[in-house]
């Protein structure tokens, strides 16, 4: 069965790009969230196999949201979406429990490679 993914980013544009990458890679995007608060709620509701999480978002940033998601489900697989220059934040997210990261702008092959590794499919 196709793995379920939750895409979190405050940019609709970015979410669309990531969603398209997943669709083309054979994943099911079960939901999307535009901020960290929504991300936590959607995670609880949808129980996805994997989350891609933007770092900088309104209301609750990606690191806090990751921490909260893991508090509710310590097996959650959260992959951070970062940009160059955000190394420190990504490392903080990894400390918080994120399993891996992808770098924006997302390239389909990189995203799918990371995600498959994380899911143990590669």
């Amino acid at each position: 069965m196709a793995k379920k993914v939750l895409v979190v980013d405050d940019s609709v544009f970015m979410r669309d790009i990531i969603k398209d990458i997943f669709a083309a890679g054979g994943f099911t995007v079960v939901g999307e969230a535009g901020n960290g608060v929504e991300a936590v709620e959607k995670y609880k509701e949808l129980k996805p196999d994997l989350v891609t999480m933007d770092l900088v978002m309104p209301y609750r940033n990606g690191i806090d949201a990751t921490r909260e998601i893991l508090r509710g489900d310590n097996k959650a697989l959260v992959v951070m979406c970062s940009a160059l220059g955000q190394e420190t934040m990504v490392m903080e997210a990894i400390e918080a429990g994120a399993v891996d990261f992808i770098v924006k702008p997302p390239r389909a092959e990189d995203v799918l490679a990371v995600v498959k590794k994380v899911l143990g499919e590669a």
């Binding site: 921490r67 190394e87 891996d100």
Partner: protein, 660 residues
Amino acid sequence: MAGPSWDTSRYLTLFSGEATEHLEALGKDVVSLEKGATVALIDSMFRHAHSVKGMAASMAFEGTAKLAHLLEDLLGTLRADVARSNASVADVILQTVDSLSGHVKAAAANEPLPDSTALMTRLSELNASMTGRPATPTAPSPAPVVETAPPPPKSTSAAPPASNPAAPPRFSVKLKINPASNQPGVRGFLAYKRLGTLGNVFDLKPPLDDIKAGRVPQGTITLELETDQTEDAITRTMRTVADVELESIAAIVKAAPVVAAPAEVDPNRVVGQEPARTIRVRTEVMDQFLDQAGELLLATSRVRELSRGMPAAQRPPLDEAVDRLHLLVKGLHDKVMQARMTPIAVITDRLPRAARDIARRRNRDVDLVITGEDIELDRAIVDELADPVLHLLRNAIDHGLEPTEERTAANKPPKGKVTIAVRRLRDRVVFELSDDGRGIDVERVKVLVVERGLLTRDQVTALTERETLMLVCLPGFSTAADVTDISGRGVGMDAVRRAVEQVGGTLEIETRAGRGTSFRLSLPLTVAVVNLLLVGVGDEVYGLPIGKVSGVVETARDRLAMSQNAPVLQFGQSVLPVHELSALLEVPGDARTAALVPFVVVDGDDGRLALAVDRLLGQQEVVLKGLSKPLDLVPGLAGVTILGNGQPVFILDVARLVTA
């Protein structure tokens, strides 16, 4: 970086629409910035710039992305110290926003992007002048890793394995980061963390700080891993990390025990460096630990409560057992608390640099003297204090200290002095920040408070000097006649006071004209245990933090005086507004027939007030638990606890309750 691997034209409309929205919002923020910079505002601007950058990069509009990136850098610098914001910075930001809008319009119309090289140079130079770092050339290059406070000492368990024959097996591991990886440092860090979940890492090369900074020669990392896991399990784990190859792994044959001289500690060893045995634990684990120890305490009280219902003959042995249990649990709780203690140096270590920066920009000369920084407090309190303390320091240098000429004229040493003294006082920690500046003009404070409509002239006249000084903590107050770019515009002292009270502390201000001002924070050692006054309203029980209660007056409702059609209570020399707690909480109270009603006098944000309750139920030391969603959104609730009889009790935040 390679361009995107899909047809971007499909996204162009979406890009231009969303980027335009961000830029418009950013433009609005710049206008607000000119009225006053706050971290929240800069944060919002940063997010907009960041979004535009990400979108532009995805569309392969590199010039646009770079311009947005430079703007993001500048905002990042501002966020670290909002006081750096001024009109000329705002101008440059606005200009960049306009230029970015031009880029987006051109992109939407399929026209070539405008050339913004001059503006890029200007942004880099401005940012460089603010950080004191050389301007990065405007060639597209990854931004430098954001500077952060030095990480807390990283040390982990375990004595050197050679001296411990029972230590688990060790493997020598060699990793190789894919040279095409965008962020080799983070990749290496991720691999290190992942291996760390399997056991203890030793002999990490390059050292962790170098890895984090991306300094990994040839992308090769070597380390020794001490773990109970099999070689196969390690290999499988590493397979889940993208872009990092496990080049080799080999079990290390244990050498005969060698007692190494302590001086020969390998500087590159990540763990086991300290002679004292320490163990690294994640903060969340410590939080959960405390939480559970607290639950145990509550559960013990519950057993004690139940034992009261037992036949008298059975009670003594049961009581004895409960006493013993209580003692053990209390001991455990204390140990957990102790483990959470963090030296206040975590905050104060950053201050000398901040003081220098602030002073330099105000052309002041300042000496900062810090004592007692090794005193320890609960981690949660230390974390909460970082911003307030920085704010107090800023205020002291900016408003407290006089310009050099003024000091010389007043026969003071030309160099101003700010002292931070931290000391233990019984079960509290006193944090005192003093300057030897001009002092706060108490009369001027009174005038301003009236001018700003925060209090009436009559109210102000009745205040003591101490009470008057606390008025600087009213929301929307600023004594700075010369509003400066350093100390913001009147935001701050109310936030400082709120943060201090949030952790159960108090703030006091003392001033002497011409001699200086002192801000004294009296802080509890831990946050988790609070003393409550329990009150009953109808069928409900609530807790009021004792620290906020000034006294209780019992009187009949019909004996209250009236002022402006509202009841008031005479308390000492003052007259206090009366609130019905049942009305504030919207719960039914007892029928109002009781002859004598207890009025609890509490400290609110705007001075004291009296809360009418139905019953006083006594005082109790309880373990405070934070509220989870959605209760944390209810204003006026500070937390919850569970009494010995199993009843949950909300702890009230009176100040918020009244203003909500």
